[in-house]
């Protein structure tokens, strides 16, 4: 018995590599974009106008809300106070500060808050992270839905305390 060779219909199939490489590149770039290479940054606006007059004692209405931050010799937080009221020296102090500011402004979004100003008076050696925490606590709060609720947006620094 003889078998005939089936020459007709025999084709060599070559895989097309170009589209595959294209897809691989696209996937690679897609994952590069979704990966957070650089963590996002936000900022706080600080109001330090040139030649601003120091608030006088006669005009009580324009007196800023004063937040005092003290440091130990290593630059760690030693105490937080809001208008001379001690709030502690741990992270809870910043929560108390946040509540205290809310008490001062009444309710978030109060139109009176546009005229209010918080003055941060920190010790020279205090680590900057605590100052940012204090600014954050005065600026507002993140609600349960993850949305920021603004309290007071005008923040300024007092004169730097001399280094010992």
């Amino acid at each position: 018995m003889r078998f005939s060779k089936q020459r007709s219909g025999y084709r060599r199939i070559e895989a097309q590599m170009a589209p595959m490489i294209d897809v691989v590149f696209l996937l690679l770039i897609f994952f590069m974009l979704t990966l957070k290479v650089v963590s996002s940054e936000g900022d706080f606006s600080i109001n330090m106008p040139i030649g601003a007059p120091a608030p006088s004692n006669e005009d009580i209405q324009t007196l800023p809300i004063k937040v005092r931050l003290t440091a130990d010799e290593n630059g760690q937080l030693a105490g937080v106070s809001l208008n001379n009221q001690q709030l502690g020296n741990t992270d809870v102090a910043f929560e108390r500060l946040n509540t205290g500011i809310l008490r001062v402004i009444g309710k978030p979004g109060n139109p009176l808050t546009s005229d209010m100003e918080v003055e941060i008076d920190a010790d020279f050696g205090l680590h900057y992270r605590y100052t940012v925490q204090a600014i954050s606590a005065c600026t507002g709060k993140v609600n349960s839905k993850g949305q920021p609720v603004k309290y007071i947006e005008k923040i300024k620094f007092s004169q730097p305390r001399k280094a010992e």
Partner: protein, 160 residues
């Protein structure tokens, strides 16, 4: 005169590689823009805050000042006093920044053709979490003396 008949076969351009290339270019530029958006300096470890959110309106002109420490391999500061990482690799003490800030102020004044009063440029301060607050205040004071009056303090966002 006789004309040759053209072959009626229509050659169609393959669009697939062209679309692929366009996608690649779009993705490439998206990556590049993402990197350019932040003038981050890896030597500066920013403090974090859950309220720090990226600004919706970017300032027209900004002067970014990175303040941090020169650290060893373990991350410990080699020098207890921080530096301003100015124009790339230049390291300047905060107390020596006055001259540089005056130069910057002069540049922005000339660029905007404004009088010798205030400058509308926003100074963006990117300071390390361990820098003493007094140093930042000193720097802001020097900036104010150079006629800058708008300041933004950068912090790492803690978005969920």
């Amino acid at each position: 005169m006789r004309f040759h008949k053209h072959d009626p076969f229509l050659s169609e351009a393959d669009m697939t590689p062209m679309i692929d290339v366009v996608f690649q270019l779009i993705a490439f530029f998206m990556v590049i823009i993402n990197f350019e958006a932040t003038q981050a300096d890896e030597r500066v470890k920013l403090p974090s805050s859950d309220l720090a959110r990226p600004t919706k309106v970017k300032p027209d002109q900004e002067l970014v000042l990175n303040i941090g420490f020169v650290r060893d391999e373990d991350g410990n500061p080699l020098d207890p006093e921080p530096f301003v990482f100015y124009a790339g690799d230049e390291k300047i003490r905060i107390s020596d920044m006055a001259a540089k800030l005056n130069l910057e102020a002069e540049f922005f004044q000339r660029k905007n053709k404004v009088a010798n009063d205030s400058i509308k440029t926003t100074v963006i301060i990117r300071a390390d979490a361990e820098v003493p607050t007094g140093m930042i205040q000193e720097l802001i004071k020097l900036c104010r003396e150079a006629k800058f009056e708008k300041f933004h303090l950068k912090a790492k966002s803690e978005e969920p």
